[in-house]
């Protein structure tokens, strides 16, 4: 996907500033940093203990709407501005606790994926030979396997999955993408002029890898990483919705899963599944913006495309 971009910027408007000062990239990054820092900031302005079962009245509507008493909803109160769900959890506390946690799963899994992918991609693309053939075929086959289905089997066998274990399991399927992208890039860079030059100048393999190629690979690495985080969060919430995630600590997927199991859609309790979904959509869109921004950095030619 890295080859594809979507700007409408005209080449005339291109200013000589650093390509890293990309609006989409910075916007996405800013939102995500905010989402991560919620974990440390939230306790200062909200009682996050209210994310525990039974710490608030049940079925309370969000602050700005009227409660339908016939459906058994309670009138809103200022103590629970986003309402509460059927197990007596405060929705605001729940979202504040769950958002950074869901993001973390994605970050861990994608980090492992990009690490393995970089090592394999570099080794195979640069060194070539039989190892390259084996890894390439393996990567292609692995990519065809429907990841979520396999993850379901694995997760269902593990009695109590914690956050780290889930990230590790998801990482099983987050390495083939990066491996493929990086191998392709390394293959094309290997033959470029500046690499050939430094080879002629007597640079060693490691020197070429880290000093010549790595800086040029950075935008690709970063774009693959943000794509990977998005994919990992998607897989994690998928598992959680099927009831296979960590059950002790709330995550966004688990909250949606609870809502579905309590038929919140049929009961009209949109705030139960709505707020976690809004948070996930914000995360996904931020990651998507970052990926697009990084693509534009990596392919300056496409930046000026009509």
């Amino acid at each position: 996907v890295t080859e594809q971009t979507t700007t409408k910027k005209n080449s005339k408007n291109r200013s000589p500033k650093s390509p890293w000062l990309n609006f989409k990239l910075l916007l996405g990054l800013g939102v995500l940093i905010m989402a991560i820092s919620i974990e440390y900031l939230a306790p200062f302005f909200w009682d996050t203990d209210m994310a525990k079962v039974g710490s608030a009245p049940t079925n309370m509507v969000p602050g700005w709407i009227e409660a339908d008493k016939e459906l058994g909803f309670k009138d809103p109160s200022a103590e629970h501005p986003l309402g509460t769900e059927s197990n007596g959890r405060d929705m605001l506390a729940l979202v504040l606790v769950a958002t950074p946690r869901s993001l973390k799963v994605g970050l861990i899994a994608a980090s492992i994926g990009i690490l393995v992918g970089t090592v394999l991609g570099f080794a195979t693309g640069f060194l070539g030979g039989w190892l390259d053939n084996v890894v390439r075929v393996l990567t292609d086959a692995w990519m065809t396997i429907p990841g979520l289905a396999v993850l379901i089997v694995i997760a269902s066998y593990i009695e109590e999955l914690n956050l780290q274990a889930m990230a590790l399991v998801i990482a099983l399927f987050s390495w083939p993408g990066p491996t493929r992208v990086i191998r392709a890039q390394v293959l094309s860079m290997r033959e470029r002029g500046y690499v050939q030059m430094s080879r002629l100048a007597g640079a060693g393999v490691l020197e070429i890898m880290f000093l010549e190629m790595m800086p040029n690979l950075l935008p690709y690495l970063a774009a693959t990483f943000t794509g990977g985080v998005s994919g990992a969060i998607l897989a994690a919430t998928g598992l959680e919705i099927l009831g296979l995630g960590p059950t002790r600590l709330p995550t966004l997927g688990m909250t949606i899963s609870n809502a579905l199991r309590s038929s919140a859609i049929l009961r009209g309790m949109w705030w139960w599944w709505g707020f976690p979904i809004i948070m996930l959509i914000i995360i996904f869109i931020s990651l998507f913006l970052m990926t697009i921004g990084l693509d534009e950095i990596a392919n300056p030619r496409l930046r000026g495309a009509r």
Partner: protein
């Protein structure tokens, strides 16, 4: 069939076998690497869910015997592969004496129908949108409107499904909440039944189409821009061909090829996503069956279904690979 060389076909079939074997092996090995075994996990889950389990030891040892968990791991693996090759997934634990294969076969048509239709539709619509976005004669208004269709790209299908369900089933009451057809129509090729199936399948299909469409549109736009710079496009224009013909036969025809490859790669993820869509809409396909299996800790059923999902996706990719040379004759150049 000029593009299809024996070497190419053999290569693709080899890839297919490798993928299925790899998938089957992962779902065999990884669960055995984690501490504990499925039986203990099952009993543990029952206890945490408040089921009173008496004689847990006896149950565990009986189940171990039935699963063949006391055999050497290699013997287990060989038995497992043999069963996979002979399509024998055994009996369901929770719905004994139903056979896993029969249960999958019963729900498969619904999943295939839903997936096939929605994936094809999203591929066609998405590529058309992408191509129009990159085509100069496209009206400005359309170019501004089209990107709106891409907003769903980064959102998972099941989330769109939940929102569609809330808006169109709960609030507006236009579509049914769950199931595949109304229970009061008779099965068969009559209009009432077909209409009911369409009504029930519409929202699940829409949620898959809306999210996967954008991906094709984005890719197609990129490809069309690249194609636009090619010499044969300029030549076609200079030759005075009609713009529509240039767009269709020269632009789209060439830009679509990598998209088909991308379709094969994305198939696995899309199939996985549709599992969740079926769960959200209680659509009685394979995904919903899998959800039931998870709720009941039915390990043979889970493993059986997932094996068939892997097999199905790999088979679809194989078919796609084998038809590809017919669309792109350049593949035949591999011969030389």
């Amino acid at each position: 069939m000029s593009g299809l060389t024996t070497k190419y076909v053999l290569k693709r079939i080899g890839m297919f076998i490798l993928t299925v074997w790899l998938g089957a092996t992962i779902i065999f090995i990884v669960p055995r690497l984690v501490p504990g075994d499925p039986v203990q996990a099952m009993i543990g889950r029952m206890i945490t869910e408040g089921v009173n389990v008496e004689n847990a030891d006896v149950i565990i040892s009986t189940y171990r015997e039935r699963f063949g968990l006391n055999d050497h791991i290699l013997i287990q693996y060989v038995k497992y592969l043999y069963n996979a090759v002979t399509f024998n997934s055994g009996y369901s634990l929770a719905f004994f004496p139903s056979r896993v294969d029969d249960m999958v076969a019963r729900s498969l048509p619904w999943t295939l129908g839903l997936l096939f239709l929605s994936l094809i539709l999203s591929f066609v619509i998405g590529n058309l949108v992408g191509a129009l976005l990159a085509w100069r004669p496209t009206p400005k208004v359309l170019k501004l409107l089209l990107p709106i269709s891409l907003t769903f790209t980064s959102i998972p299908a099941y989330m769109v499904g939940i929102m569609l369900l809330f808006v169109f089933s709960f609030t507006l009451d236009w579509f049914p909440f769950a199931g595949n057809y109304a229970r009061d129509v008779s099965l068969g090729w009559n209009w009432a039944f077909i209409w009911s199936v369409i009504k029930h399948g519409f929202l699940p299909a829409m949620s898959i189409i809306l999210v996967s469409m954008g991906r094709w549109a984005l890719g197609m736009r990129g490809m069309m821009i690249t194609t636009d710079g090619e010499d044969y496009m300029i030549l076609a224009e200079a030759a005075g061909l009609r713009p529509f013909r240039i767009f269709w036969r020269y632009g789209v025809r060439n830009a679509i090829l990598p998209q088909i490859t991308a379709f094969g790669v994305a198939l696995g993820a899309l199939a996985g996503g549709s599992v969740l869509v079926e769960v959200i809409f209680t659509y009685p396909g394979v995904g919903h069956l899998l959800y039931q299996a998870i709720l009941n800790s039915d390990y043979t059923l889970i493993q059986g279904i997932v094996f068939y999902v892997i097999l199905g996706v790999s088979l679809a990719v194989l078919i796609l690979d084998l038809t590809y040379p017919l669309i792109d004759p350049r593949i035949s150049l591999e011969r030389s």
